[in-house]
């Protein structure tokens, strides 16, 4: 069964996020002066063909740990998952 997963990878809270800072400093110039704590992350969407929801999720977790994120600097969250029509 094919399942769709979404993984969100973000820099760990303590770490300076230069991309977030760049976005944050651009917003006031456009008139939005009430924005703070902008963080930029990655959104990865993938499809896994596995026998069960559990097996698929476990695999996505391992892939997130080993490749999609670097645990030294990033956290990840697995968001939605859903079955795809065969």
């Amino acid at each position: 069964m094919k399942r769709r997963f979404e993984v969100v990878v973000t820099l760990r809270p303590g770490l300076l996020d230069p991309q977030g800072k760049a976005v944050e400093s651009a917003l006031p110039a456009m008139g939005w002066t009430n924005v703070s704590d902008v963080r930029v992350g990655k959104h990865i969407v993938l499809t896994v063909d596995a026998d069960s929801e559990d097996a698929a999720r476990e695999q996505v977790e391992e892939m997130s740990r080993r490749l999609l994120s670097n645990p030294v600097i990033e956290d990840f969250r697995i968001l939605a998952s859903g079955e795809l029509p065969a």
């Binding site: 303590g14 230069p18 800072k21 999609l68 670097n70």
Partner: protein
């Protein structure tokens, strides 16, 4: 006795592999080209992972190169005590591979930096700094957008406590201060080594600093050190 063989890995997107091979040759070693897709170090006595943008720096710098077939051999070689040096992108790859502590993120300035910097040697216990002493200052160019060394508080304490810092950005007189920290690295760290002392990574480019006709020569003693380590394995 044969000249020490220094393997230089070319990944798709490597830029400084040719300069590294040239620099090894200029310093009296034999540069041995290695290919990312092969599992053969061609009897190298030392290995350099060069700078560049392997696999386009997609996902994270070095994240994909770290799983290239040749990296299995590099990890094995390092595990057996072989000298391994990662320069710039190569440093990022070694961190991603878990051979070195920490990680490299976007420069604090958000800008790509390309200039000659001063770096202070912090220890002679690395494949690049044999024959140098702590406090020596070398002029070497940097050129990177993502060279800010970071580590968790715990890792950083261990890196400092165990003497794993090999280079720091500094003023010409060796003073370490924020103004000379070219990318905002934690504790101005420009290069680190592993616990055993046979794997080292640094952001500055010693391979671009060996020929007096084109700039500073701060890379010479580093490559001389590497060749002497490699020679010990011949």
């Amino acid at each position: 006795m044969r000249r020490p063989r220094v393997g230089v890995v070319t990944f798709p997107g490597s830029l400084d592999d040719r300069d590294a091979l040239r620099a090894v040759g200029a310093m009296g070693g034999e540069g041995v080209p290695l290919w990312h897709a092969e599992r053969d170090l061609r009897d190298a006595d030392a290995v350099i992972l060069p700078g560049g943008f392997s696999y386009g720096d997609y996902l994270r710098c070095g994240a994909i190169a770290r799983f290239a077939p040749i990296m299995e051999e590099v990890v094995r070689f390092a595990g057996a005590g072989g000298p391994v040096v990662g320069i710039c992108n190569g440093f990022q790859i070694l961190c991603e591979a878990g051979l070195l502590p920490g990680a490299l993120i976007r420069n604090r300035s958000l800008r790509f930096v390309c200039r000659v910097v001063d770096v202070r040697v912090e220890t002679s216990l690395s494949p690049l700094t044999e024959g140098l002493v702590a406090g020596d200052v070398l002029q070497i160019p940097v050129k990177h957008g993502e060279g800010q060394f970071v580590a968790s508080g715990e890792d950083l304490a261990r890196v400092e406590g165990d003497g794993l810092v090999v280079f720091r950005y500094c003023a010409p007189d060796g003073t370490v201060d924020d103004g000379h920290n070219v990318n905002g690295a934690a504790n101005a760290i420009a290069g680190v080594r592993n616990d055993v002392g046979n794997v080292v990574g640094l952001m500055p480019h010693p391979e671009h600093a060996v020929d007096p006709d084109v700039g500073p020569t701060g890379g010479q003693p580093l490559l001389a050190s590497l060749l002497s380590r490699a020679l010990a394995r011949v």
